[in-house]
């Protein structure tokens, strides 16, 4: 039989049988039968050795073409088979993907932790460090060292919860800190300038509770003291804080205010559109100012050499503004329906 014919026949048989393949297994058998080492095509090629060299070359090339052709058809058939199987999988092996997934029990942070971390991150990026201090304090740190002497009317700003304790002179001098500011004095007593710290923590006031007041809340105190710190530096730092927390389109206002431990004193407000209101209002978000020379003197710093600024931020107020919370009591009610929204 001429080689041409047998090659043509092999080709048509192979294609016929390939079409009949319906599984991967069939395809593998087909490959062995036609293209394998002991397959029909190899057998055909083996017969070539009897031919003339010239003819052998021609036929050999044709046989190789046939091999490439059949390999191509095999690849196509494999692809077709995968498509068919995919179609069948999609038809017969379906799940309802809309059913709820297997939930990992959800934990979450208290909103005050979230906002505190945001504030900390803003100041840490400006070179501040986080420190903490005692919530139960001596009157000396909470008031005297902050230029708030006994019987001074500015004490009215801080209604105080006192600890049932008297010193050897019979005076009540232990209290729940009314602000995080006592740490200003404590830090400066322990450290030499330069200082850049923030102090997050709980503070307490003798204050009746309502939507905007709690007897127990949180502050973040800030203090920066070094040579050459100015009011302009304070403005820059606090602007940057506001930009980080509230976004750069929020307007900020600095007005004069009085706190005995700073001079000049500042109240920083941001513009605020109350729910239902049509005009913006200013809402105070922190008190600040240049550290009072008497405070610096009190801890042994030379006010002619060092200057600095301090600030106190109310965490609850920032969280209320940022998350649209309208009642401060929600923070301590610990209703899980509220907490799980954060």
């Amino acid at each position: 039989m001429p080689v041409d014919n047998s090659m043509e026949q092999l080709r048509s048989t192979a294609l016929e049988e390939l079409d009949a393949c319906t599984s991967n297994l069939n395809l593998q058998e087909w490959r062995v039968r036609f293209l394998g080492r002991k397959g029909l095509l190899t057998g055909l090629l083996r017969g070539l050795k009897n031919l003339e060299p010239l003819e052998r070359k021609v036929v050999g090339s044709e046989a190789n073409q046939l091999k490439v052709f059949l390999e191509g058809r095999l690849a196509l058939a494999e692809g077709r088979l995968i498509e068919q199987e995919t179609l069948i999988l999609g038809e017969n092996d379906r799940i309802d993907v809309t059913r709820p997934g297997r939930l990992k029990k959800g934990g979450g942070y208290h909103p005050l932790t979230k906002i505190r971390r945001e504030i900390e991150a803003a100041f840490i990026s400006m070179g501040f460090q986080v420190v903490e201090g005692p919530e139960i304090e001596w009157e000396r740190y909470n008031f005297e060292l902050l230029n708030i002497p006994k019987n001074h009317p500015s004490r009215d700003i801080w209604d105080t919860l006192w600890v049932d304790y008297r010193n050897e002179r019979g005076e009540r001098n232990m209290l729940l800190r009314t602000h995080t500011s006592p740490m200003q004095a404590r830090i400066m007593e322990q450290e030499e300038p330069p200082i850049r710290v923030i102090v997050p923590g709980k503070v307490y006031r003798y204050e009746a509770t309502d939507r905007t007041h709690e007897w127990h809340f949180h502050q973040v105190e800030g203090l920066a003291v070094a040579r050459g710190i100015t009011f302009a530096d304070m403005k820059g730092t606090l602007y940057e804080f506001a930009r980080r927390i509230f976004g750069s389109d929020r307007k900020v206002r600095f007005r004069c205010d009085y706190f005995p431990f700073v001079e000049p004193g500042v109240d920083m407000s941001i513009d605020y559109l109350a729910p239902g209101a049509t005009t913006h209002d200013w809402l105070e978000i922190m008190g600040a100012g240049m550290v009072h020379p008497k405070v610096l003197e009190g801890v042994g710093y030379d006010p002619e050499e060092y200057t600095g600024f301090a600030f106190g931020i109310g965490l609850e107020r920032i969280a209320m503004l940022k998350y649209g919370i309208d009642d401060i009591r929600l923070f301590f009610d610990n209703d899980l329906r509220f907490l799980r929204q954060f």
């Binding site: 059913r99 709820p100 939930l103 029990k105 934990g107 979450g108 208290h110 005050l112 932790t113 971390r117 400006m126 070179g127 460090q129 986080v130 919530e135 139960i136 006994k150 019987n151 001074h152 009317p153 500015s154 919860l161 006192w162 600890v163 049932d164 304790y165 232990m174 729940l176 330069p194 850049r196 709980k202 307490y204 509770t209 007897w215 127990h216 070094a226 040579r227 050459g228 100015t230 009011f231 302009a232 530096d233 403005k235 820059g236 940057e240 600095f254 007005r255 004069c256 205010d257 009085y258 005995p260 001079e263 000049p264 004193g265 240049m290 301590f332 209703d335 899980l336 329906r337 907490l339």
Partner: protein, 803 residues
């Protein structure tokens, strides 16, 4: 404090809109809480009553003819005080008024009353919304210009200001006027303090003795004899009413009026009631009493500063007068006091008596002695003007605490140093002069003389603030800190604690924040009260709910649980990172950082995939173990005696033989006390500082990874129930070829004797140098079984009864 704009205008011209003024004051530090408008009386004019005739058909009504300049209106009026010639407030038809019957707004309509037409209304104060006064019509001064719109004549704006406690001068019109002058560039006009002195020399008629010069640096007085006490004139009453001050009589009203103007409280005594015409400033005697103007009898203390006559205390100095010497209708001679008192003593005394008076509010802020005589002269002039009489020659002026003029140098360098900008000398001088400071320019500095009404300016920095706040904080640029960043101190503990917070959130717990104080009752429910003397108690707690600083975290966790149960049946998994407070002798209490958690209810959220079962001890323990594992710590768990936990299902959590916390089911009795009647709450708490101290010793060291496969054997043991699984596990793991033994199953029940249980361990055997053969593995297990039997009595299950 309320300040009418019309009154302010006596002292300073105001040419900007009132809202702008309020904004400027607020920015400069004097917060204007609100601006209230007096007026808005459309179609109301100053009218003149031309005639009053009886109403022909009604006894109580009168027909009045009211001239408004261009027209004469007939009006029916029922007020008893209407007479011809009066200047009154006339409302035309269409005017908007307050209905006297219900105080609601109404529009005035033409009316016909018993046959007579009424073309408007003569208004009372109530109808104009000025006060609740409706006894009669409001009569205006005779010089009120007929036909002038009432808004122009009576209209006003009231600033409600909120002065800061450092600014005594902001409690006065003068102080606020200077503020406005500086902010708007206007001039100040100080009112007249002149009057004729026609009487006998005051020094011959009264003697003043200051016994306590430290508490009373200056005492001045004048004497006005032969006054007539009656109602104040309309203009005076009008201003006091707008300022929210109660009107009393002409003399008392003047003292209040001048206090508002200058911020200096004054007190008028009935001269004839002063025993021996001797006034003494002294401290109270033990047992001494005074009946103050509010009618309260008060016992004086030895540090109470009083004004006394030759025998009795007649006033609490700078706070309140006495009934005994008050100005009454029959008073003829007035002894008028203007003095300085020590602010600290004044505040302490007022607080001690629970009093807060306008005088005390000002004295406690610290008033300069320089205010005393000027306010005295102003008040003497006005009393003379409104109550008549004759002023004695001269004034008493005892001034033992004479104050030197206050001068402070402000340098350009200080401005630059504090504010970070340069301000020219001329701008500094202009700003300070506007506030009433006297300035003397020298090289690169200004010598500033502090005016008598400013008690807050003590040092150079105070002047820096004055310049900055009047020029406006907005004028100061913003710069970023350029000072050196301090060395970073490694905040291991803080990071460690935040890490625990993160890990517990990852374990599925919701963070809560609770109050730091609790009630004794809550501690009793926790079975925790041994000795309440060991607790940190507050002297003035908000309520008994918050009387004690919490010594434990658990009570608030249980309260949070019960408060959530009405909306939520679980799963509830919460934690708090907070402090507990432990009393220490003669020192601040110890504040200990604690992390506590509580689990309650079904193990998983409801749903088609929900797993059955409720949280139990081992869920809490899993969380603790996972937490410790992440911190490279391994705890061991030993028996615990803790009153609020279940005695059989609780443990101490130990790290290196040191207890760092506790874990267990809440004692059923405690749980019931808190109102949780079903289910089981599981609790854990750990001392974060102790964990931190242990964790610093536990730095992870990397072990080489095994190169040969491990062989696994399941070993079921029959053991006595008192033998702990951890003791068996550790015997397995003592063998060098066993890498771990995992407790795979626990079985008690059929086929197991009552006192025993079956524990199945999955034991991993591995050699670092080769793959273990099956025989080698079996040999290891046999060896360990021998040890287990001798040390714990455990035997291989299925070999019971064999030797």
């Amino acid at each position: 404090m309320k300040i009418p704009i019309s009154w302010l205008k006596d002292f300073v011209d105001i040419r900007i809109p009132v809202d702008e003024l309020a904004d400027k004051l607020t920015m400069a530090g004097l917060e204007v809480g609100s601006v209230d408008r007096v007026g808005g009386w459309d179609k109301c004019l100053v009218g003149c009553v031309r005639s009053v005739t009886p109403h022909p058909n009604a006894d109580r009504l009168r027909l009045c003819e009211v001239d408004t300049g261009s027209t004469i209106h007939q009006v029916i009026c029922g007020a008893p005080n209407v007479t011809a010639g009066q200047k009154i407030c006339f409302a035309e038809i269409g005017a908007s008024l307050f209905d006297p019957r219900n105080s609601k707004p109404m529009t005035l309509k033409a009316a016909k009353i018993r046959g007579e037409i009424s073309e408007g209304m003569i208004c009372s104060e109530l109808e104009l919304g000025l006060s609740d006064e409706h006894e009669g019509i409001l009569v205006l001064p005779e010089d009120a210009p007929t036909g002038m719109p009432l808004d122009d004549y009576l209209g006003d704006y009231i600033l409600d200001i909120e002065p800061t406690p450092n600014r005594a001068d902001w409690f006065s019109i003068l102080g606020v006027a200077y503020e406005i002058a500086a902010l708007t560039g206007e001039e100040i006009h100080e009112p007249s303090v002149e009057y004729p002195e026609e009487g006998e020399d005051i020094h011959n008629q009264v003697k003043v003795t200051i016994e306590t010069a430290d508490l009373c640096p200056r005492y001045s007085a004048s004497l006005i004899k032969g006054v007539s006490i009656h109602e104040s004139p309309g203009w005076l009453q009008d201003r006091l009413k707008k300022a929210g001050i109660k009107v009393v009589n002409n003399v008392v009203d003047v003292t209040n009026y001048v206090m508002w103007e200058y911020g200096q409280p004054l007190h008028a005594f009935d001269y004839e009631r002063l025993l021996k015409q001797h006034v003494i400033i002294r401290k109270g005697y033990t047992g001494e009493e005074i009946v103050t103007l509010d009618g309260v009898q008060r016992a004086l203390l030895s540090d109470t500063l009083v004004i006394a006559d030759d025998r009795d205390a007649i006033a609490l100095a700078g706070i309140i007068g006495s009934k005994h010497s008050e100005i009454v209708d029959i008073t003829r001679d007035v002894f008028l006091e203007s003095a300085s008192f020590d602010p600290g003593n004044n505040r302490k005394t007022a607080q001690g008596f629970g009093l807060r008076t306008e005088a005390n509010i000002r004295f406690e802020k610290g008033l300069r002695p320089g205010l005393v005589n000027i306010a005295l002269k102003r008040a003497t002039r006005l009393i003379n003007l409104v109550a008549g009489g004759m002023v004695a020659k001269g004034q008493i002026d005892e001034y033992p605490g004479r104050e030197e003029p206050r001068k402070i140098r402000l340098t350009l360098l200080k401005i630059k140093h504090v504010l970070g900008i340069e301000i020219s000398l001329s701008n500094i001088v202009k700003t300070l002069k506007g506030l009433g400071f006297q300035c003397f320019v020298t090289d690169n500095a200004v010598d500033v003389s502090i005016p008598y009404w400013r008690s807050d300016i003590m040092m150079e920095e105070d002047l820096v603030e004055e310049v900055a706040r009047i020029m406006g904080y907005e004028a100061i640029p913003t710069t970023m800190l350029s000072s050196p960043i301090p060395h970073h101190k490694i905040q291991d503990f803080y990071t460690f604690r935040e890490n625990i917070r993160d890990l517990l959130v990852r374990e599925g717990l919701q963070e809560i924040v609770t109050y730091s104080a609790c009630s004794l009752e809550a501690l009793r429910r926790m079975r925790l009260i041994g000795d309440s003397g060991k607790l940190v108690r507050l002297a003035n707690p908000m309520s008994s709910d918050f009387e004690y600083m919490r010594p434990v975290m658990g009570a608030h966790m249980l309260q949070t649980l019960i408060s959530n149960l009405s909306f939520n049946r679980g799963p509830i998994a919460i934690f708090e990172m907070g402090r507990v407070y432990l009393k220490q002798e003669n020192d601040l209490p110890e504040e200990r950082d604690i992390v506590a958690g509580l689990l309650y209810g079904p193990y998983s959220e409801e749903g088609w995939l929900a797993l059955d079962g409720e949280f139990d001890f081992y869920d809490a323990k899993g969380i603790v173990e996972s937490l410790l594992g992440r911190l490279f710590l391994t705890g061991d768990y030993t028996a615990l005696d803790e009153g609020f936990l279940h005695p059989g299902k609780s443990a101490s959590i130990n790290l290196f033989d040191r207890s760092v916390g506790k874990i267990g089911e809440i004692h059923p009795v405690v749980q019931k006390e808190f109102g949780v009647t079903e289910g089981t709450a599981v609790y854990f708490e750990m001392d974060v500082r102790s964990m931190f101290e242990m964790a610093t010793e536990t730095i992870p060291r990397i072990k080489a990874l095994a190169r040969f496969p491990s062989t696994i054997r399941a070993v079921s043991l029959l053991v006595d129930r008192k033998v702990t699984s951890v003791s068996i596990q550790s015997i397995f793991q003592r063998n060098k070829l066993i890498t771990k033994a995992v407790l795979e199953d626990v079985y008690e029940g059929d086929g197991i004797p009552g006192q025993k249980c079956s524990l199945t361990f999955r034991v991993y055997l591995q050699s670092p140098i080769k793959t273990l053969s099956s025989d080698e593995a079996n040999n290891v297990i046999d060896k360990v079984l021998g040890i287990l039997k001798s040390e714990t009595g455990a035997i291989l299950r299925g070999t019971e009864g064999q030797d």
